[in-house]
Structure formats: C-alpha cells, structure tokens
Assembly symmetry: D2
Homo-oligomer: 350 residues x 4
C-alpha cells in the first residue's frame, strides 16, 4: 500500500544487472569512456536526430542546469504554478542559474494554458530592465497533476514561445509515462513539436540515478560542460549512469516499465472511482492519481499502513474541496502490483 | 599500464553486491530510509563521536558544499596552491558558495606550510571589508602530491586555524589512503586533531559514487540540508549511496582496498627508482607517484599504451626540472595489479 | 503636468547646498569621515534608539542588501504581490541575495493581509528543504498603491512574523510620506512595532541619491559591511551621501517635503474625484493617486503633454475595470505645484 | 600632509556647480533624460567612435559589472596580482559575476608581463571544464603601482588577448592620470590598441561619484542594462552622474585636474629622492609614489600628522626590503598643493 512516490521504488533488475556488467575494469573518467559515447549515440537514435546529451544524477540538477544554460541577466522562467521546479526543488533553479526568477503561469490540470502563457510573456517587454527578460518556457510531461499534454497542446505552447524567441524546455522526470500514454515517438513529443531541450528522467522509472539533459537546439548547448562542472554535477565514473541507461533502453525496458506504472495508475483510478469514501480530484492520464477525502478518514487509512501524501489544492478548484477535505496523491511505480492496490481498495472502502 | 587516475577504476565487487542487495522494494526517499539512517549511525561508530553525515554524489559537491556551509560575505578559503578545489573543480567552490574566493597557500610536497598559513590568515584582518574575511582552512589527506600529513602536521595547522576561529576542513577524496598510511583511527586523524568537517570520499577507493560530508562541529551544520537541496545534490534514492557505504565498511573493505592501492604505489615508486630513464619527483606516501621524465621519451611510452598524465610543476621546484622535462603522475587503484606495474617497468626501462 | 514619478524631481535646494557645503577638503574615505559618523548618530537620535546605519545609493540596493543580510540557503522572502522588490527591481533581490526567492502574499490596497501572511508562512514548514525556509517579511510604507499601513496593521504583521522568528523589513522608499500621514514618530512606525530593519529612502523625497539601511535588531547586522562591499555598493566618498542626509534632516526638511507631496496627492485625488471622465481606483493616503480611465481618452491626455504611467491591475479587482479601461498612476513630488495639477484638471475635464 | 588616497578629496568646484546647475526641475528617470543622452554622446566624441556608455556610482561596480558582462560558466579573469579587482574590492568581481574567478598574472611595476599572460592563458585550454575558461584580460591604467602602460605595452597585451579571442578590459579608475602622462588621445590609449571596454573613472579625479563603463566592442554589451539593474546599480536620478561628467569634460577640466595631480606626484617623488631617510620603491609615472622606510620612523611621521598607508610588497622585490622596512604609498589628488608636500618633506627629512 505504498504510493508515496515512484522514487521510493528501488532499481529494476535489468538496471542492476547493467551496473554489475560494467563494474569491472578501467575506463576513462568524466564522460569520455566508450560506454558513455555509445549511450550518447543511443540517445541520438532514440530521438532520431543529432542531439547533445549530458548525464547528471538528479532531476533537480537536470532542470536547474537547463535553466542555467539559457539564463540571461534578469532572466525569467515561465512555468506552471504547480511545476516541480517551483514547488519542490528548494530554489535550486534560482540558485544554480545565478539568481534567475521563476514566474508561475496558470492553467487547469497541471498544464500551462496558452493564453495565460502569452499574457505572461507580454509582461516582460524586451529591453525593459525593471522587470526582467523571459528566457525559458518549461512544461512538465507527464505533469505534476498526472495529466499528459497532447501533441497539439505542446505545439500551441511551442508556437507562443517561438514567436518570442524563447527556448522551450520539457521537464521529463516522467517522460516515459507521458510518451506511452500518447503512444508516439520521442521525436514526435519533443523536437518535432519545437521542444528545445528535455530533462530526460529515468530515476523514477526504474534506475537508481540516471538523468540526462538532451539538447536538440545546437544554439543552446554552449558552455554546458562548464555549467555542469562548476555545480559539482560531473561524475568521475559517469559510465555508471551510462550503464543504467544501457539497461533502461535495452529491449524497450523503459517503455515496458512506464506502461506498467501507467496501468497501475488506471487501476488506482478505478479504485478511487469505485469507492464511496473518496472522489477523484481530476482524471489521471499516467501513473499519478489524485483523490479528495475527508482528512480524518485519510488519517485512519495512513494508520492502517497506507502511504500517500497530501497535495496542495490547485488554483481555481478551491471551491470544490470542503474545509474538512484534502487532496491526496497516489503514485504507482514499476514495482506496484495489483495486490497492493487491492489492499488499498479494501481499506478505503471499509 | 593504466595509471591515469584511481577514478578510472570501476566498482569493487563487494560494492556492486551491496547495490544489488538493496535494489528491490520500496523505501522512503531523500535520505529518510532505514538504510540511510543505519549508515549514518555507522559513520558515528567509525568516527567514535556524534557527527552529522550528508551523502552526495561527487567529491566536488562534498568540498564545495562544505565551503558553502561555512561561507560568509566576502569569504576567503585558504587552501594549498595545488589543492583539488583550486586546481581541478572548475570553480565549483566559488559558484556553489555564492562567490567566495579561494586563496592559495604555499608549502612543499602538497602540504600547507603552517607559517605561510599564519601569514595568509593575517592578510585578512577582521572587519576589513576591502579584502574579505577568512572563513575556512582546507587541507587534503592524502594530498594531491601523494604525500600524507602527519598527525603533528594536522595539529599544527589546526592550532593556527583555531586561534583565528576559522573552521578546518579536510578534503578526504583519498581519506582511506592517508589513514592506512598513518595507521591510526579515523578519529585520531580528524576531530581529535581539530578537524571540523571531512569530505569523506569513497568513489576513488572502489565505490561508483559515494561521498559524505561528515561534520563534527555542531555549530557548522546549520542549513546544510537546504544547501544540498538548492544545489541539486539531494538524491531521491539516496539509499543507494548508503548501500555503497554498507559494502565499503563491511569487513573493513575500505581499509583493505586502500592498503592495496598504497602497496601498488610503493611498487610504482620502486619502479621509478630502479629506472635510469626517469627520476622520482618527490617521495610518495600513498597511491600516487610522481616522476620526472624527458617529454619525448614519455610520449613514446604513451604511444606504447601506458596511460598517465602530466602534472603542473609545483612552486619552488621549477629549478629541478629542465626545459625538456615534465613531471608525470602515476595513480594506483584498488584494481591495480603487479603485472600492470611490471609492464610499465618494462617500457620505461627499455 | 509631469506626474510620472517622484524620482523625476531633482534635488531640493537645501540638499544641493549641503552637498556644496561639504565639497571641499579631504576626509577619510569609505564611511569613516567625521561627517559620516555624525549622520549615523543623527539617525540614532531620529529613531530614538541605537541602530546601525549603512548608506547606499539606490533603493534597490537598500532592499536587496537587507534581503541578502537575512538570507539563508533556500530562503524565501514574503512580500506583497505588488511590492517594488518583486515588481520593479529586475531580480536584484534574488541576485544580490545569492538566489533567494520572493514569494508574493495577497491583500487589498497594496497591503499584506495578515491571514494570508500566516498562511504563506505555514507553507514553509521548518527543516523541509524541498520548499525552502521563510527568512524575511517585507512591507512597504507608504505602499506601492499609495496607501499607508496603520500602526495597528504593522503590529498585526509584526506579530505574525515574530511568532515564526522571521525578521520584519520595511521598504521605506517613501518612508516620510507614510510617517507624516500617520503623524507619529519614526520609532513608533518601526522598531516599537517590531520592525527589524528599514530601507530609509530619501531620494524620492528630495535627495539625489541617499538611502540608508537602518538596522534595529543587532542580531541582523552581521557581515553587512562585507555584503555592501562585495556588491559594489560602498562609495569611497560616502560623506556626500551623509551630506545629503544632513540637509534632509536639518530643520525637519524631510517632513516638510513629504507633507507637501502628500498635500499635492490630496489635490490630485480631488481632481480625480471632480472629473466625470475618470474615477478613483482606490483612496490614496500619500503622494500617489490611482485612477481608472478609458485607454483612448488617456492617450489623448498624454498627447497633450500630461505624463503618467499605466499601473498593473491589482489582483482581486479585475472585475471593476472594463476591457477598454486601464488603471493609471499619478505621483506628486516635493516640487509639484497646484498649477501643475490645475493644468491636468483642465485636460481631463475637457 | 594627507596622502592617504585621491578618493579622500572632495569634489572640484566645477563639478559641484554642474550638480547645482541641474538640480531643479523634472526629468525622466533611469538614464533616459536629455542630459543623460547628451553626455553619452559626449563620450562618443571624446573617444572618437561609437561606444556604449553605462553610468554607475563606484569603480568597484564598473569593474565588476564589466567582468559580469563577459563572464561565462567556469570563467577566469586574468589580472595583475596587485590589481584593484583582486586586492581591494572585497570579492565583488566574483560575487557580481556569479562566481567567476580572478587569476593573478605577474609582472614588475604593477604591469602584466606579456609572456606571463600568454602562459596564464595557456593554462586554460578551451573546452577543458576542470580548470575553467579565460573570459577576460584586465589591465589598470594608470596602474596600482603608479606606473603607466605605454601604448606599445597595451598593444602587446591586446595582441595576446586577441589571439585567444579574450576581451580586453581597462580599469581606468585613474584613466586621466595615465592619459595625460602618455599625452595621447583617449582613442589611442583604448580601442585603437584593442581595448574592448573601459571602466572610466572620474571619482578619484574630482567628481563625487561618477564612473562609466564604456564599451567599444558591440558584441560585448549585450544585457548590460539588465546586469546593472539586477545588481542595484541603476540610479533613478542618473542625470546627476551625467551632470558631474558635464562639469568634468567642460573646458578639459578632467585633463587639467589629472595634470595637476601628476605634477604633485612628481614633486612627491622628488621629495622622496631628496630625503636620506627613505628611498623610492620604484619610479612613479602618475600621482602615486611609493617609498621604502623604516617602520619605526614611519610611525613617528604618522604621529606628526602625515597620512599615508603601507602597501603590500610586490612579488619579486621582497629581497630589496629589509625586515624593519615597509613600502608606503603617497597619493596626490587634484587638491594637493605644494605646501602639503613641503610639510611632508620637512618631517621626513628631520
């Protein structure tokens, strides 16, 4: 009954095996080993384009360094008001970008609303130093709210960013979950829609620490090697991140794991819908499910061993939740099994 | 014949096994798992004192965040002029400490000379904002020059730092190599000598990425959780760093590995001494050995498959090296074997 | 008809004379001259308490360095969502505090609403590094909306900040305008109400560049000399800031100037109320007056030589302004005269 | 007998008058007034080229923001080891550039030695992130040692910087003193020799706070408006900096003032040479003169009312100064008179 987060899961056996497979011997450090190079190439194949690939160890690092790579003095990053960079990363984006600012943009279900994005961008007229300059738009796929941007929605946001020559970043901490939901190729979900860089996360989907910043737009990669080094995020034995990715991509493991956690998400959603004790906060499209429950009841479920966390009420739906209620989040991972869900169902239906 | 660096080595089998052992199941993220807690406790036992333990993934992170934790506005960090923080970390200490400055202090054989330290500290009179304020002294054990501070030498430096109320940090990227050389306890080499915090490195000695900032002085730990988070260095599945340390400490693996690499260092030194083609730059006391060779000859050895790097000539011994010569560094690791050294010997004696 | 801002006004004659008076001769630089010391003492008298006084040249510097002085890693500064630090300082607070974050708090008429402040503070539970830690509450007196916090309102906010041990800062860019409105002593408006530090602005009220950070709470001043120096804000000939303050305080010039600009504010408000072309956005209490007008009409007034700026619609009153309308700001200064206002009245009544 | 620094002098009468002249009335704030524009144009005339001009209030700001404007991640600024940016600015260059590093280059008499510069640049091979990337060379004219780079010496340094595509900055805190010594045009001393930007200082030469960053290379000015704003260095009433420059340039006041202080420097040098109590440390070429004296004697002169400061012994001449001796600095300013020097002469000859 552990649904605290997908980062509570360990590593998939295939990932552990890949780590073991490469544990012996000597190899050039700091990203120049043969394995590192081959995995970078693998990313190029998967994305069907030439792209630059930079390995880091945490999603916060990937996002923050992407923001740093595009930062300018007085720079403003436009993100959804529930975005992980704003809500959960301890000001790392601001710190690692040397004092940039995140400016929240609204929109239902965890997605930036294009009209609101346009309005937000227009708040920062070029050359007006009293306010700052917009330097990046970032979207999260799948979102913090468990939803998934459609390809058309990505295009709409991309078009607005492009009109103002602002780079578009995708926080892909749960990239695979969004991808299998849309059932499209990585290229279709990213650069073909105008995404300039992706924080490609694998940790939440079965690795122990494997994240990559993937840069499609060659204008944006300048100095990234230095940006990563000066923030302490260049591993000496970086080949062990590569090893994880090797296992991750082999035999489409990553897609299988994501399909599984999404399926478990569907089952969780069914459980919520079937219960007369709770109600769904909004429809889920991936491995995260949000429900509304009476706080006292939720406390008793936690006492019985269920693990899940409260989630801040999104703007605009405050009226839908009464004073004694709270939104809670359930997250399925690659190791979630139907019996875990059945146990939860038993508790919240009792 | 690969002596490029000890971070070219993979992971010791016991470390890989520890990673495997903990790969399954679910556990609280971000450092609150049972395993994380037990390893923190293990550090307390090893250091025979209450200490705070913060896991990070790179040595640069451990050093830079230690510097950040003690930084003040206009802060100055006193380090040896060959120190890794100054010579090899891409300005991460400056960046991650929000603009602090490293100020080099001289001394032979990679060790800070106490008189020069005192003079350097006196360059920064308290309250004189035009120059800055000294906020940390950092020493490296074992040093970048392959030497090892004696306990008396640590005490001498510590006393000077203490007189000015400046915290003393030890960069222990090769902590174990220094420890087994001195044949003392971790406590004797650190807090009993006045060291306030240690970057306890395990990566170079057989882990894949396991570093810990160990803080003995409770006055210095404030806000470290935030410092680590805002720089992107808090891992979600941090228990896999803990798992590495579990394997590292079990059955004194870490001491065995360090003794081995030090022994291989001795053999390398013998090889250098026995060769009439090269000469020892200075005596080694750990797993790093430095020799002086004709550049043209060295190039031919590299062509034959040997791997080692040039090393900048330390201040004060420029006169000992002729124009056609260069200092080179050999590093032994836990997987170095006698036959690797024999192969090198054959080449440089040919 | 120039009502663009009070910082469009030059210097009051008495200030210029004070600058002239001290222009000759030699004096110790960097704040240690006799004049500097005597003006610091004058501040102590005016505030009827021992306080630390640091001169800087811009209000942005005073505010940002105050924020820097209380910043902690992952630090969050709570300010009104129209606050100058958030809306007009080009991310200087973030940059000069090394990556802190400003978190907006709502409230009508430019004032932080205590309940919303409490809620905002509670968003940052202590020791929870994923979100950050609240390090300062800042209020603006008089506010960006031309209103003035009553002493009771300051107390209410101060009590909430104190309960959480968060320092309270007052952005006093228009300190004098608020003070004469409340008709109280500087002490009553600040430290007696729990304000810990004030950005004491004189530039907008008749000086050319004279701002002082005044710190009442001795726990908060540490390292401020270094903070100012490392950001380039320590003047060598700082005595010329002191000279301005000498003229400013002499014969209560500062209060006279502020009373005048407030009076002109009242006259502007009357003009707005008397016009059937515009309506008051909200009641003014100082030298800033806000009105709502049809955009097309406003454009014709600007064509006729009037100078004023649009002002972003505050949250919560969007419904009061129709699509063709806009809020505009009028600012009176120490040199505004009745005939300027009469000219404006003639235009907007035509 | 006050020779502490040229920034101890007040303002030249013509500068004060210019401030008075512009003190009345209203003008657009933040650098867009007619006066601001006309002074920017005046800079273009004086430098005989199109250049961008940014006013700031302190020399530390001018230098640090120039460094920030050219900074890159892991950036290294090459400066003389006695440079003001390194020796006297409280780490402002590091802080305001977001964590850049200053790397000292040697050379006698306060001047960077070209061969040592080349060697220093070569320490930072392109794309090698462990060390950093050289982003600026900065020279000081006239130097901290009172000497003046010849045009040929500037060219030699410029050529080396250009070969590596590194921008060349001139710290002109005492620009006028260097200029009148060389008896050339501002253009000849700067962009015609390959200087890309100048911190044009007027404060030390008779203004109260007037500094300008002058950028000749249009590739380097990007974002400077934002860089200045985000560090709090944009004045609202910036026209009062412009007013100072108006007075400064009128009737070649600036050159007259500099010629006077240089002449007083010559007289100070004569005084030193004529005394048998002290000896010249090295020949002066501007308004700063350095002498070597017995510490005990110097203390008695200070007791008698003379004001001057000790100066750190430059590298390479330690052997010329005995243990009881110290180098001291004398600085003449625009208000220094012969009788002040005579008084000093009387004391040190007694």
């Amino acid at each position: 009954m552990i649904f605290g987060s997908d980062n509570w899961a360990g590593t998939a056996p295939e990932i552990s095996e890949a780590l073991m497979r490469h544990s012996n011997g000597l190899a050039v450090a700091y990203g120049d080993s043969d394995l590192d190079k081959s995995i970078e190439k693998r990313f190029n194949e998967i994305f069907e384009t030439e792209c630059l690939v930079y390995f880091v160890g945490t999603g916060t690092a990937a996002n923050s360094l992407a923001i740093a790579a595009t930062m300018k003095p007085g720079g403003i990053v436009l993100c959804h008001d529930e975005a992980h960079v704003l809500a959960n990363e301890g000001s790392a984006p601001e710190f690692l970008s040397g004092g940039g600012r995140l400016s929240p943009v609204g929109g239902r279900n965890g997605k930036i609303e294009p009209d609101q994005l346009l309005k937000a961008i227009n708040n920062y007229p070029p050359e007006f130093n009293h306010l700052g300059q917009a330097t990046m738009v970032t979207i999260t796929q799948s979102t913090e709210a468990g939803t998934v941007y459609s390809l058309e929605e990505i295009t709409a946001i991309s078009n607005i960013a492009k009109q103002s020559s602002i780079p578009l970043h995708m926080d892909g901490a749960r990239f695979a979950n969004g991808l299998v939901k849309l059932d499209c190729t990585p290229a279709e979900m990213t650069w073909k829609r105008g995404v300039d860089m992706v924080s490609f996360g694998a940790t939440k989907n079965g690795c122990w620490c494997a994240e990559a910043l993937v840069v499609f737009n060659p204008d944006l990669h300048s100095h990234f090697q230095f940006i990563r080094k000066r923030s302490g995020h260049l591993f000496s034995k970086t080949r062990f991140i590569s090893a994880q990715f090797e296992g991750y991509f082999e035999n489409e493991l990553w897609l299988k794991l994501a399909r599984h956690s999404n399926l478990m998400g569907e089952q969780l959603e069914k459980t919520i819908k079937n219960s007369n004790q709770v109600r769904l906060a909004w429809p889920s499209e991936s491995n995260q499910v949000f429900f509304i429950a009476d706080k006292t009841k939720a406390a008793t479920w936690l006492d019985k061993g269920a693990r899940f966390h409260p989630f801040p009420t999104p703007k605009g739906i405050e009226g839908e939740i009464s004073k004694n209620e709270q939104i809670y989040r359930l997250v399925a991972s690659f190791i979630t099994q139907q019996n875990h869900i059945d146990e939860l169902a038993a508790i919240i239906s009792a």
